[in-house]
């Protein structure tokens, strides 16, 4: 009854399943987090765009800052004048240039200028006359440092007018006016150099006056000499075309030029390199705007980086090679970030920018935009670009690049917290829910089982109220209370019904007695009426009413009466033998067959109750047996109990009555053939007595269907020393 087979899950299971719905909470938190991320990213993009816009505002209309380069670089090769971080002393010492140590270019060692990397060949390995060059710019001055490989240094003899008969440096450039300028730096030995404007042949000075704006210093080294010099940018004009050649003279006697190593291509159709400068003014403007984690690039319309400040890549301490489970989990759900390197700002060393990318494209077309992308190193950055406008022309763009580590860190922290809090609260809710459901189920089960147990197998009320839960304030309490009050009412009703026969007898017996005594007196007073048939039938009627009432009351009182019986150990074998032996007296027309397993069959019983039980069994069997067929009484000791079976041949039991055959007022009798009284109490009495003795009663059709066997099982008792012998 308490099993719920095939009727859906139990209450606790249902509650647990409902509890699973709580899993939505972390999911929503996560969705929220992802949205928050995109919101933050968007916010940062906006901020970067604003920054870019602000910077571009500073630069708007300042095309002069960008105009110092030809619009096209075709046919030019560039010399790079790097912005110098610190002041330079013209002393031919490299210490001032330390910051640019990896920017050396080699000339004369081959046809193409090369950059020297730290592990590149040293100056010693170069052929005679080759040189290393480093250009820098600071304070509107162009600085140059040369390491010249020269096995035999020939210094200028001041007595000679010709200037090309010693080691020297030639500088060529174009002035603003488009004229070609020629300068020669002559060296009269280690120390300060002198520069002269030269004639077209590079042989004599144009005039005797040295160019004082070009200041230099030379110093001998193992491999040759070092030369450091500077010249004002203004000399180069806006075109900034510039060439440099190292002229090597080895024989101090003949003083013939042995070789010229130059920055110009040997067969060059152009005489000049372009000196590419980071626009210092732009840089100055931008530098002040740089902030941590952000890189600002100013790019001109030719995609050349004109200024750069800050770095977007900062080593993040939280970034490990193998991302933690949290990051992995997080990455799983993140919108894909493009990893294509549409912009590689690191490629800006060459100054000539090949950066592509939609952002810059868009910006150069006048559209400010921002994009989020991931670098190969796993660093994610946001790039925002804003055009710089002058006279309705886009003259460049400002790119602000910042990595998103801060945001992601924030997000990871939040995610971690959410996961932790959700897990904890989920666990807590789960435990609480589990405990609650277990308790709830337990309470309901307790009420249920108590309710179930309130009525026994035969539908008798055993209790008039529930003991548990009736003081609870919740619905279960309500349920318990209503069940309890139901039980109480049922109990009252049952009591009423149970006391009914007694009350009835009490109430009927008095008038019955009045009728009975009146009849007796009537008979006495009128002797003539003796044997009057009406009087006789009245007396019979009175007697029958008396019997009916008596039987009903006896049956109703049976269980109470049985409670007060004293039990003793009786040998049922002896009892039955004696009983069956006497059956002939009561039923002379019937044949009784008794069979039993040998040996005593002791049971703790009230002997005359067993006798009463047998009376009912025999009465029943006699009533239903086919005339002439024997009634069989069997006594069997089966393991720990004794079975008394009374079987008769006769009509089999109807299935619908079989289950409640032993209930009161149930009878299979179709019609009363005799005048005897049948209330269906006989087998009820059998059951009640059997159960009172700890046994049971059952009825079954004989296997061949020829009759009915009713079996009473009683527990076997150990043989008591004082077994009352039966007479």
């Amino acid at each position: 009854m308490t099993k719920a087979n095939g009727r859906g899950p139990r209450l606790s299971t249902k509650l647990m399943l409902l509890g699973l719905a709580l899993l939505i909470v972390p999911w929503f938190s996560f969705r929220h987090l992802v949205q928050m991320e995109s919101f933050l990213i968007q916010g940062q993009s906006q901020a970067q765009l604003l920054t870019a816009e602000g910077i571009s505002t500073l630069l708007n209309g300042r095309e002069d800052l960008f105009n110092d380069l030809p619009l096209s670089l075709d046919g030019f090769e560039a010399l790079y004048a790097h912005p110098l971080p610190g002041p330079i002393r013209i002393d031919a010492r490299e210490s001032d240039w330390a910051a640019l140590a990896d920017r050396w270019q080699v000339f004369g060692g081959g046809s193409e200028p090369r950059r020297i990397t730290s592990h590149d060949s040293s100056i010693d390995a170069l052929p005679d006359g080759a040189f290393h060059l480093l250009l820098g710019e600071r304070g509107n001055q162009l600085y140059a440092f040369l390491r010249v490989r020269d096995e035999s240094r020939v210094w200028r003899n001041p007595n000679l007018l010709r200037l090309d008969n010693a080691d020297h440096i030639r500088l060529s450039y174009l002035t603003d006016q488009g004229d070609e300028g020629r300068l020669q730096i002559t060296m009269q030995g280690p120390g300060v150099t002198t520069a002269y404007h030269m004639d077209a042949e590079w042989k004599f000075a144009e005039h005797g006056l040295p160019e004082n704006r070009v200041q230099g210093y030379v110093e001998e080294t193992d491999y040759g000499y070092n030369l450091e010099f500077r010249m004002p940018m203004s000399m180069l004009g806006s075109r900034r075309s510039f060439g440099l050649a190292v002229v090597d003279v080895d024989d101090p006697e003949t003083r013939q030029i042995r070789g010229i190593a130059q920055t110009l291509p040997q067969s060059g159709r152009e005489n000049f390199h372009l000196v590419v400068l980071r626009s210092p003014e732009v840089l100055n403007i931008v530098r002040g705007l740089g902030y941590s984690g952000a890189r600002i690039l100013v790019i001109d319309s030719q995609r050349r980086v004109r200024a750069e400040a800050g770095s977007s890549i900062e080593p993040s301490e939280s970034t490990s090679d193998t991302p933690g489970w949290l990051e992995r989990l997080f990455d799983m759900f993140r919108p894909n970030v493009r990893t294509s390197s549409d912009l590689a700002p690191e490629d800006t060393e060459q100054g000539l920018i090949t950066v592509g990318g939609q952002v810059i494209d868009a910006a150069l077309q006048g559209q400010p935009s921002a994009v989020r992308r991931r670098r190969d190193e796993g660093v994610e950055v946001i790039m925002a670009a804003h055009p710089i406008v002058s006279r309705n022309q886009v003259i460049g763009t400002v790119v602000v690049e910042q990595n998103t580590d801060d945001i992601l860190d924030l997000q990871r922290d939040a995610l971690g917290r959410i996961v932790l809090v959700s897990a904890t609260s989920l666990l807590a809710v789960f435990v609480a829910l589990l405990a609650f459901s277990v308790r709830l189920a337990w309470r309901i089960r307790r009420v249920g089982s108590e309710t179930t147990n309130a009525i026994d197998r035969h539908g008798r009320l055993k209790t008039s109220e529930l003991r548990h839960e009736i003081h609870s304030g919740d619905e279960i309490g309500d349920l318990a209370r209503s069940v309890s009050s139901m039980l109480t009412k049922l109990h009252q009703h049952t009591q009423f019904l149970e006391s009914m026969p007694r009350t009835l007898r009490h109430e009927i017996n008095n008038p019955l007695n009045a009728v009975s005594t009146s009849l007796q007196n009537l008979e006495q007073e009128m002797p003539a009426m003796e044997a009057n048939k009406y009087l006789e039938s009245a007396k019979r009627g009175v007697l029958r009413i008396g019997v009916i009432v008596q039987n009903l009351a006896d049956a109703a009182n049976l269980e109470d009466a049985l409670e007060s019986e004293e039990l003793e150990v009786v040998d049922l074998h002896e009892l039955l033998k004696s009983y069956v032996g006497n059956c002939h007296n009561a039923h002379p027309d019937c044949q009784f067959v008794f069979r039993s397993s040998p040996g005593p069959a002791p049971a703790r019983v009230a002997d005359y109750r067993i006798e009463q039980l047998l009376d009912k069994l025999i009465d029943n069997a006699v009533d239903f047996h086919w005339p002439g067929s024997p009634i069989r009484i069997h006594l069997d000791v089966v393991r720990d109990h004794i079975e008394i079976t009374v079987a008769n041949r006769g009509p089999p039991l109807q299935p619908e009555i079989e289950n409640n055959l032993f209930d009161s007022m149930v009878s299979q009798r179709v019609a009363t053939r005799d005048n005897r009284l049948h209330f269906g109490l006989g087998l009820y009495v059998v059951r009640v007595i059997a159960e009172r003795h700890g046994g049971s009663a059952r009825a079954a059709n004989l296997t061949d269907g020829s009759g009915v066997a009713i079996t009473v099982a009683l527990p076997l008792a150990s043989m008591a020393p004082r077994l009352r012998a039966t007479g």
């Binding site: 008095n510 007695n513 009975s516 009182n557 006497n582 007296n585 006798e611 009376d615 007479g727």
Partner: protein, 236 residues
Amino acid sequence: MPKSIAIVEDDDDQRENYRDAITKKGYTVSAYGSRKEALSGFDDALPDLVILDIILGEEVDAGFELCRDLLARSPSLPVIFLTERIEEIDKISGLRLGAWDYLPKPISLEYLAERISSLLRINEARYQNSAGGSRGSDSARKIGHLTLDQEALLVSWKNKQIDLSGTEFRMLAKLVRVPGHAVSYETLMNATMQSLVTNNTINTHMRNIRKKFERVDPEFASIKSEYGYGYRWVSK
């Protein structure tokens, strides 16, 4: 001088029927309808025998109280309870109070008359015995350890007196008439002198008798069940 019988019964019809029937037997009858009436009647004169209904009007135990009252005044007064309350507990209470007999309704007026005369006779016999100072052993009968005095309604086992109610005495007398012979339920039913008796009633009476003997002698085992037939007295 006719014996005086008092009847206390709240039902008018029954009371009148009893009165008529008993008067016809030659007794003087005073009938009362309530405990109060009865008490005031008893104050004037005590009857020779009292027939009591237990429930009188609203008073459920009025009969018991009256019985207690009467026996306090006259311990040897024969009292017959006459009632529809035949539950075991009532029998025990009534007999413990010292009632002589107990008759369930509906009753046979014939039996009632017999009981009245029998009780009066017995009472007289006892009175004469105690007055005469000699044991009226002439009517007594001895069967083994059992002594049965039909006249005085006295029973003793191994010389110890046993108090039996009138019904019980008559049943025992029937049982021991021929010792060793089984006595059927039917015979025993007749002995109860009640109009409506079942096997169960007999069994209950027999058990009560057995218990009363066992109280005196725990070894008592002379009353045997003859299952399916009746009882048998076995003398050792």
